[in-house]
Point group: C2
Chain length 319, copies 2
């Protein structure tokens, strides 16, 4: 307890997976200055993926971040640093400016365990451009230990600053997190560690605290938990809980009051039974997300039967 | 992990604090038979307090339980046992039938630390009538250890079967629960232990799991978390999580689908910012509950200012 930590708010990036990044400039600006006042150390302002590589037909400024645009959104950079996430195969390294020309401070690379080598290539490139870097290893709940140990060998020798435990499916409990953190700490003594939790079983905050107690110094969260499916650890909980003179809850409450209540009425995230079920079953929430968009959205027993009966197709009928 | 445990569903009793026990007989019956199918060991079907002692002006069958009425509600008792809660000074011992004439199996006595002696008097009486008994020590987050140790001396020599750690304000975290459970276990080696958590900081499930891992065998919960203010640990999470052949999630999902979604639209409980704030501040949720009934219900910054500024009256203006 009490070790130094940094909160990284990913409301725009992970929350964008809920509403296809339908965030106004005014909201993103309010969020940045609010997080800054609250003392939150980092804000992840979106994805820095390539519209070309994703065959984009429409603009999506928080998915395809552009430095010139960002400088208009955040005319005055303050205490809170900015990060962007990239996916393997979706980022064009030519899109990335050297850090001294960019408003971004950190680039985070998301990857599955089988792509750690590719992830580390990107990390090295961004590191050489001057950015702080992280490697976010997703879906750790399904990774055999042997594979993890092989990945650690590569990570150890890379310049990456922070390595993240990512519970993509929201299926880990505090005992699992403790085990993983200990393993990461033991195998990667020269790296900072982070944790990114999902709230399918209402364990995101507890898991984040467990990560912190076991050595994680980068704690991901989002305001009012806004994030894909069951959402993330809530920023307001971390800011309240962590006894740190510089954190101030009020600006985060202000954002919730001004923006998040209306957004939650418009878009859905949080503890919802099909997401709970996908968490319990250690599965990607995509089937549950599709179900929530079908007419059968509240037929929980039927959903449970579908996802636990192997011979039945699980995709909900188009309606 | 894996020690034997029993789930005690308190949806009717604690949920009644949300809706003044406005539950239909049909719902209570569905809940009983659903919990039974799910393999849940106990259902707390209400309070066995005295309408006379509470100067009741209206009937309230789940607050003033009556055995004859209950036998109509549950015509066929099955696997799931029934419990009732009583409060010190609000129960008339003359209202309690001997167990062999009652549909109830267990009587639980709620008390604050200063009333443990009175609580144990009631426990002894109910024990002598043949009931299983519990002592639920409330508001433990505000109890100095010395007072706790004095209480343990009395509890040790009583016939009570189960002693509960009750986090009335939802302000404890897993590390606190671990500490308390270890203390209880050390001081009361001859008693079974229980845990009753509230969800103000989204820690009810994590705290309940921590209680279980540290020796609690009675785990309180309610379906969809229905309980006062932020509500309780969710029954569906416990039933999903605990690897026990006899638990079955589907009947609980059925209850949520058929009843709880509509009830949640009508009545409010769960993770709501003023309850989060009262949890963080280790305070009774009554001020937050009153605020939620005022026109200012969603003015979180104002609420936070009021409850953290000692010189300002906190009761919301009547409107």
């Amino acid at each position: 307890m009490g070790n130094k930590c940094k909160i990284l708010d990913c409301t725009i990036r992970d929350g964008g997976l809920v509403n296809n990044w339908d965030f106004s400039v005014g909201f993103v600006r309010d969020l940045y200055y609010g997080l800054n006042e609250a003392g939150v150390e980092y804000m992840e302002i979106g994805y820095k993926n390539s519209p070309k590589l994703l065959n984009a037909t429409e603009p999506n400024p928080w998915r395809y971040l552009d430095d010139n645009f960002l400088k208009e959104v955040i005319p005055e950079k303050k205490y809170t640093k900015l990060s962007a996430l990239v996916d393997i195969g979706r980022v064009d390294p030519n899109d990335i400016l050297p850090r001294e020309q960019s408003i971004l401070d950190m680039i985070r690379v998301a990857c599955y365990i089988r792509e750690v080598d590719k992830g580390l290539e990107l990390v090295e490139l961004f590191h050489d451009l001057g950015y702080e870097t992280t490697l976010n290893i997703m879906a750790l709940s399904s990774v055999p230990e042997k594979q993890l140990i092989e990945a650690f060998e590569m990570v150890k020798n890379s310049p990456v600053d922070v390595v993240y435990v990512v519970d993509s499916f929201g299926s880990l409990d505090p005992a699992d997190i403790e085990h993983l953190m200990k393993k990461f700490k033991e195998m990667l003594p020269n790296k900072q560690l982070g944790i990114h939790a999902h709230n399918n079983m209402q364990l995101a905050f507890a898991n984040t605290l467990t990560g912190w107690r076991n050595g994680a110094t980068f704690l991901d969260s989002s305001v009012y938990g806004m994030g894909r499916a069951a959402g993330n650890c809530h920023t307001e909980l971390l800011v309240s809980y962590i006894q740190k003179a510089k954190y101030d809850l009020k600006p985060v409450l202000g954002i919730i009051e001004k923006h998040m209540l209306d957004m939650r009425k418009k878009w859905e995230w949080g503890y919802i039974i099909p997401y709970m079920i996908s968490g319990v079953l250690n599965e990607h929430p995509r089937v549950a997300m599709a179900y929530r968009k079908s007419e059968d959205r509240d037929k929980y027993v039927e959903f449970y039967d579908k996802v636990t009966t192997p011979e039945v197709a699980v995709a909900p009928a188009a309606k």
